[in-house]
Symmetry: C2
């Protein structure tokens, strides 16, 4: 297996890692980041399962592979983490999208925040005051699914088992922004073999800010009698550009832009497309994200996807419209990248 | 129903709420807090179900009632919340303790962080890469529980249904520190009718810091080209003293102290007992909290509770030792508070 740790410091206990160990001419923010933050210990395991998964679909199933990222990243404020900054995200967009990709013939690597919503099981978790055991009853000394839920649950179970049996779903968890970045980097490189058939669908809510490891206190921050706590964060380097240029140069890349202020959404999306030179931004507002999104392309073209009232009433999931839209663009991308 | 909103501002849109609307002599940090932060909209609903629950156990079952708090509170950094500060807590201590209280004859109000672990269902959630559907198989067009898990799950289901059938478990969720504080205040007052038979078991990881509503930006904080983000937080007022003095003067109150630094644990626990004048602190270290805790009493007496190697190997839950220990103290408390 290739060595993905070339920019990782060799010593585990180094304190001052602000001086990068490569020629200064190549230095940029991303290099400095990976040089001053250690890879998660479990990364080689993940790399091994991603490699097997990609190889299987490359050589055997022939399916296109989409990396769906989902849920929010955390930014620990202490080394023995008690407090952290988090981004709001239950993972609904990612988990729902993953299902529609699977049903449309994709293999899915689901890179998700641990304990956020998962494809299929999402239908039965995170429901307010509804515990998993509420779906069950005892009958003749055996557990049965409550009749009220049995048919729909069997339908979901079949789809989940089909995804498993065809080896089309790989679940990979992360918690911190550091784990996310290292895993994204490794996975991207392993997807290169698929060239244009690899798709990145970056729905995770990745923190813009982080606390550098070198400035992180070892123990829980103590409250002072004086009261205040001031947290002084650095901006996370813009990894999307690195993804486009180096980690996944032949793949199609879709990113999301979530805002709460309508007036800046399109401008921010176009800014991202100019800065990162990728293929598509899906814009959405926190308040309306379940009913409308907008596809924004590098040439400035905007396509709104909206559920009408009828569809909203019938609980149609907007991802059932988003995924076919993305697939059209991905097909064209694959065609244009054939040898 | 009594009016719990006397310190709530009357107008929903007031911007400058830094001037309290009560005589200056009574002003303290807690009053200012409730005067400048609005109660959650759903609070009356919760008060109504807590009232019914308490009344049932007071007049009919005769069970003592414990309020178990569990999971971490969030501190939103924006009004339309995208980012927030969180406290690490899956809710294991609270959810596990609740089960042992139920099995030992208590009625339990489980005030928990939404989507954190719940009593009973905790055995099947938050397990890495194990989705709820993994416990199920299809057989003759019906869902069955995989044989491997069936016996144990039936055992858990029975205990869960018993708690439900005897109306002994009330689940109340919170997310933000503001929701937690308002719900704690309301619930405490409704528990007063039980006098000494009410027990507070405060296992939630409540934030020490918060961002006052008056300083909270309306929209998502935008990253600046300059990079840095500085978050300037205020200390959360010390509500435990208010709980002891005013909200629940006859109840027994147990708080938790979680540290990562062994050398300050006992000192911090004793400090809390002096400051708040309550009955018991259970101290634990993040690194060893599943195997050892220490009971610290106002007279300085310390009792360590530890799992031996055998018990650790057999996955004995330390809460099976903690709860009987707390019950001994609560029984003595009830005796000493009888008329």
């Amino acid at each position: 297996m290739p060595n993905y740790h070339t920019s990782k410091p060799k010593t585990e206990t180094a304190i001052d890692r602000t001086v990068p160990d490569f020629p200064i001419a190549q230095v940029n923010d991303e290099d400095i980041y990976f040089n001053t933050h250690e890879a998660p210990e479990y990364l080689p395991e993940i790399e091994s399962s991603v490699k097997d998964f990609v190889q299987f679909h490359h050589e055997q199933s022939g399916k296109p592979v989409v990396l769906v990222t989902s849920g929010g990243t955390t930014v620990p404020l202490e080394n023995n983490t008690v407090r952290f900054i988090d981004n709001f995200s239950a993972g609904t967009r990612g988990a729902t999208s993953a299902e529609y990709f699977l049903e449309n013939g994709y293999a899915v690597i689901f890179l998700h925040r641990e304990f956020s919503l998962l494809p299929y099981s999402r239908h039965y978790s995170h429901t307010t005051n509804n515990c998993f055991l509420d779906y069950m009853i005892e009958k003749h000394n055996k557990i049965e699914i409550n009749e009220k839920y049995a048919d729909q649950m069997l339908h979901v179970l079949r789809k989940y088992k089909a995804a498993q049996d065809s080896k089309s779903l790989l679940l990979i968890p992360f918690t911190t922004v550091n784990q996310y970045l290292y895993t994204l980097k490794s996975t991207s490189k392993l997807l290169q073999i698929l060239e244009g058939k690899a798709l990145f669908y970056l729905a995770a809510a990745v923190s813009d800010f982080f606390l550098p490891q070198s400035r992180m206190p070892q123990h829980k921050i103590q409250s002072q009698t004086s009261g205040k706590l001031i947290v002084d964060l650095e901006q996370v380097p813009k990894f999307l550009r690195r993804l486009v240029d180096n980690w996944a140069p032949s793949a199609m890349i879709v990113s999301f832009k979530l805002e709460t202020d309508n007036s800046i959404l399109i401008k921010k999306a176009l800014g991202a497309l100019t800065r990162y030179q990728h293929q598509l931004v899906i814009g959405n507002l926190l308040q309306t994200r379940k009913w409308e999104v907008v596809f924004i392309r590098p040439d400035g073209e905007q396509t709104w996807i909206r559920l009408n009232e009828e569809e909203q009433k019938n609980n149609v999931e907007i991802e059932s419209l988003i995924i076919p839209g993305v697939m059209v663009e991905h097909k064209a991308w694959i065609e244009s990248h054939k040898h």
